[in-house]
Each structure stands twice: as structure tokens, then as C-alpha cells.
């Protein structure tokens, strides 16, 4: 077993060796520019791009002509939201997005706000899910776009995309979905879900970093203003020479995700449940963050009461995980996602996100359960809060001096 054990699959994933094999010929031997129409180097690269476009489209049940390649989900989110806002600004100036979205969505919306657009940052329920009635109530005749992620990166909850899509379509509002964390882990169908724009990232699905895509619906047609101008690649929506090896990698990753999704889901879910039961059966005062049922298989986000997240990560340094604790970020603010779920600051400080994936094993899970239980017990022995709770003190009744 290799240490540290990787359990941060929501941060990124290793490139699947089969993906790498598919990519390798496109660096040195077949290096042509897919936009070169006049010779065989260009033609073979163009054929590879065409194949990749089909593979990507097929995973979300789209038409290959609806795929725009980008540098990743952050660019796709920017292009979708900024591009739609600017193209449709005559029609309306209102955008709705939940407070638990990725920063690529939230920050883009904040920039639009500064430009004069109206943005509703929609609160979510305590299980992390969007309340459809609240979403509908937030819509006005000025609303042009709703942006809701498929799966949350921190707590793994799956949003009710089909219902959101139906609502948006009935109100003639465009629906953008950041699917970076959901793609390949759950069936995605842009037509059944009425999704108009969908952001894709390769490195979350065992593909290379630096490549992604934006699905842009053709029927009924969705228009957007480009951010990058130049040679008019990607039907004018995103100029820039297409990176053939990265595209081949993204395409292969999508194809593998499609063919292995069902089996992988069951395997990863079994591991996640083994981890959850292993930890929760041996420790008290631990809480799951986010809904358990509407949740992607590979995510487990737990708060360990009375133990600070960063010190816990030091205690379990044999496993690579993320924490919602402020101390792991430069901002000193605990996770805004957990706060939006109504998790109090204290519990947000004690949260750990375990991310499982394609290469996780049962042996790794068992070892992680062991070190987490030991680490939490050790830190609780050192925790004045734990001591007070053991003595029957109600911490909520104490006055603390904020600092």
C-alpha cells in the first residue's frame, strides 16, 4: 500500500493509464494542427478531434456539434455565464445561482453584479439541495439564466437537475449546469434534464488537467458572446489552437466513464459505506455533512466534533484529504459551503472530506478507518472541549471571547 493514501478524488484524479496510452502518439509523431486543412498532419489531428468530440457528446447524450472545447470547467463556467449574460442582456439582467456553487460560478456572477447585472444567490436547504419553490419564487421576468451544479465539490450532494431543468424550460430561462463533479459518476442527459449549457472538466474523470468542454445547446439554439477572440475556432465561441493530445485524453476518459460507470459506482459506493460505517461505528459525536441519499458515491464529508480539522489532518497524515477548516485556507474563514448548509462555524472547523475513486481499495479504506479513529481519540484526549463535554458541560451555554 502506497503512503500517503490518496482520498481527495474531488480535488483531482490521476490520469487513467489507458487514457495516457491514447494520448501519447499525439505529442511527437502526430503533432499536426487540427485546423490545418492542407495536409495529412492536419487531417489526422482533425480526425482525432472529431472522435474526441463524439466521445464527449455521447456521455451527456448531446450532438458533437454542441461541444466547445475549453481549458477546463472554470473557463467553461466563465464562458457560459459571462457569455450568456452579455448576449442576452437586452432580454434581461437577472441571474440565479445557489450559494454553494463553485467559486468559478460565484465569482463570475459577482463580476457581473459589478457590471450592473442582478444576481440572486439562492440559499440551499440544510441537506445541501436547492428548494425548487424557492428557485421558482426567485425568478422574475428579467431572469435569463439559472446556474446550478450537478454535484457539490465539498459535500457531494446531487441537485435535482431534471426538476430544475423542467422549471427553467417552462419559464424560458436558460439552465447552465457545472457538471465537473457529476460527470462520469451519474447518468447525464442534457435533453432529459433540459440543460442548455454544461461545464465539463477532464481531470475529475481520470483525464489530463488543462482541458474541458462546454456543451452549448443547438435546439433551441443558445447563443453566447465569446471571451477569447482569434482564429474563430469552436464556431467562434472559443478561439485557440485545439490541443489534440489533451482532447484525445478527454475523449478517452469520457468513453471509459461511460462504459464503466455502473460497475464503478457500485464498487466506490461499497467502499464509501465501508469507510462511513467504520468511522461512525467507532466514534461518537461525528456528523455527516450533506444529504446521504442524494449523494455521489465517492464523497464522504464528516465533522468530528471537538477536534479541529487541520490538526486532525496532521494526525492522519498517511491519508491525503481536504478539510473545511479555516486553517487550511489563507482566508481564515471556514468552508462557505458548510456554512450555507447551516453547519455552525465550530463544526465546519472540524470537517474532513474523504474522496474515493477508481483506484481506491478496501485495504486503503480499512487503514484510513484505523488512523482516523486513533487520531480523533488522541486529539480528543488533548481537547478542552471534549473534556468539558465529558464533564457534562453544555458548551452552548458558555460565553466565549471571539478573537
Amino acid at each position: 500500500m502506497k503512503l500517503p493514501i490518496y482520498m481527495d478524488y474531488q480535488a483531482t484524479t490521476p490520469v487513467d493509464p489507458r487514457v495516457l496510452d491514447a494520448m501519447l502518439p499525439w505529442f511527437v509523431e502526430k503533432f499536426g494542427n487540427p485546423a490545418s486543412r492542407s495536409h495529412a498532419y492536419g487531417w489526422e489531428a482533425d480526425a482525432a478531434v472529431t472522435k474526441a468530440r463524439k466521445q464527449v457528446a455521447s456521455l451527456i447524450k448531446a450532438d458533437p456539434r454542441e461541444i466547445v472545447f475549453t481549458s477546463g470547467a472554470t473557463e467553461s463556467d466563465n464562458l457560459a455565464i459571462w457569455g450568456v449574460a452579455h448576449f442576452y442582456r437586452e432580454k434581461g439582467n437577472h441571474i440565479i445561482t445557489p450559494t454553494t456553487e463553485h467559486k468559478a460560478v460565484l465569482d463570475t456572477c459577482r463580476h457581473l453584479e459589478a457590471e450592473g447585472f442582478q444576481v440572486t444567490f439562492l440559499p440551499v436547504q440544510s441537506n445541501g439541495l436547492v428548494d425548487l419553490r424557492m428557485l421558482e419564487a426567485a425568478m422574475t421576468d428579467q431572469t435569463i439564466l439559472v446556474s446550478v451544479m450537478a454535484v457539490n465539490n465539498e459535500v457531494g450532494v446531487i441537485q435535482p437537475l431534471e426538476a430544475i431543468g423542467r422549471l427553467c424550460r417552462s419559464r424560458k430561462v436558460l439552465f447552465h449546469c457545472d457538471a465537473a463533479q457529476g460527470l462520469g459518476k451519474m447518468p447525464m442527459d442534457v435533453n432529459a434534464m433540459n440543460i442548455d449549457l454544461l461545464s465539463i472538466s477532464a481531470h475529475k474523470i481520470y483525464g489530463p488537467k488543462g482541458i474541458g468542454a462546454l456543451y452549448v445547446r443547438r435546439q433551441p439554439r443558445v447563443r453566447l458572446k465569446a471571451i477569447l477572440h482569434g482564429g474563430g475556432h469552436e464556431r467562434g465561441m472559443r478561439s485557440g489552437t485545439l490541443p489534440t493530445p489533451l482532447l484525445v485524453g478527454l475523449g478517452e476518459a469520457c468513453q471509459l466513464a461511460a462504459s464503466e460507470m455502473v460497475a464503478e459506482h457500485q464498487r466506490v459506493l461499497a467502499l464509501r459505506e465501508r469507510l462511513r460505517h467504520g468511522i461512525m461505528s467507532q466514534l461518537t459525536h461525528v456528523e455527516l455533512n450533506g444529504d446521504l441519499q442524494a449523494r455521489v458515491a465517492g464523497n464522504l464529508n464528516i465533522s468530528f466534533n471537538y477536534v479541529e480539522g487541520e490538526s486532525l489532518m496532521m494526525a492522519i497524515k498517511d491519508v491525503a484529504v481536504s478539510s473545511g477548516s479555516a486553517c487550511t485556507s489563507a482566508s481564515l474563514e471556514p468552508s462557505y459551503v458548510l456554512r450555507a448548509l447551516g453547519v455552525n462555524e465550530e463544526m465546519a472547523h472540524t470537517s474532513i472530506r474523504f474522496g474515493l475513486g477508481r483506484f481506491s481499495t478496501e485495504e486503503e479504506v480499512d487503514y484510513v478507518v484505523h488512523i482516523v479513529v486513533n487520531g480523533v481519540n488522541k486529539l480528543r484526549e488533548m481537547s478542552p472541549l471534549w473534556e468539558m463535554v465529558q464533564d457534562g458541560v453544555d458548551l452552548n451555554n458558555l460565553q466565549w471571547a471571539a478573537h
Binding site: Y306, V307, E308, E310, S311, M314, S325, A326, C327, T328, A330, L332, P334, N344, E345, E346, H349, E381, M382, S383, P384, L385, W386, E387, L395, W400, A401, A402, H403
Partner: protein
């Protein structure tokens, strides 16, 4: 974040973890910080008849630097008079542990813990 060796050493082998009897008149207890801020330190000192701190214990909820700062402080106050202990400044703690700017508040908290423990001890002495 990569940790300084001294922080790691105190974190891995914390000195003087535990509790003293807080009812004892020779024991001063300081509790500083807040759970919502991510760190709470409890520092206890026991002062002998010569006015020297002959024992110190801590318990800390917080990041590695907070644990290290409290562990270090228990080592430093032992054998010192109360006034000598009060002379320990957050700057000394931060320097000893080479804390980065974002962790300076851990050393401030440790200094506050000493003051708070001493204040508790003194109020007990007056009362008793």
C-alpha cells in the same frame, strides 16, 4: 501547509497534556479562544509556596500551531516565578516555533492563556 520541525515535534510529542485540579487553591486555570474561531486553549499552572510555577498542563482544541504553542508554553513557564511567566510574549513564542503570519494568532492566544491562568491563580489567592 508544510510545518516547521519544532511545531511538528510539539504536535507529535506534546509536553504536559492533561489537567490539574482546578479546585486546588494553588492552581490557576486559564481558558482562552472560542470554538467558532477554531481554537480553544486551556492552560493550568500550579504555584508552590516559594511562588514558583512547579507544574503546568494544557489541553488545546486547534490547529497544529496552536497545539505546539500551548505545549511550548507549559515547558517555558515551569520553574519560573509568576512575574517571569508573565514576561513571556507572543513574539518569543512565534519566533521559537517560526510561525508564519497566518499563525501568529496562535502565539497571541498562548500569551493570553498565561495571563488568564495567572489572573485566576491571583484571584483565588485573594479570595482564600
Amino acid at each position: 501547509m508544510a510545518y516547521n520541525e519544532k511545531v511538528l515535534d510539539h504536535y507529535e510529542n506534546p509536553r504536559n497534556v492533561g489537567s490539574l485540579d482546578k479546585q486546588d487553591a494553588s492552581v490557576g486555570t486559564g481558558m482562552v479562544g472560542a470554538p467558532a474561531c477554531g481554537d480553544v486553549m486551556k492552560l493550568q499552572i500550579r504555584v508552590n509556596e516559594e511562588g514558583i510555577i512547579d507544574d503546568a498542563k494544557f489541553k488545546t482544541f486547534g490547529c497544529g500551531s496552536a497545539i505546539a504553542a500551548s505545549s511550548l508554553v507549559t515547558e517555558w513557564v515551569k520553574g519560573k516565578s509568576i512575574d517571569e511567566a508573565l514576561a513571556i510574549k507572543n513574539k518569543d513564542i512565534a519566533e521559537e516555533l517560526a510561525l508564519p503570519p497566518v499563525k501568529i494568532h496562535c502565539s497571541v492566544l498562548a500569551e493570553d492563556a498565561i495571563k488568564s491562568a495567572v489572573a485566576d491563580y491571583r484571584s483565588k489567592q485573594k479570595g482564600g
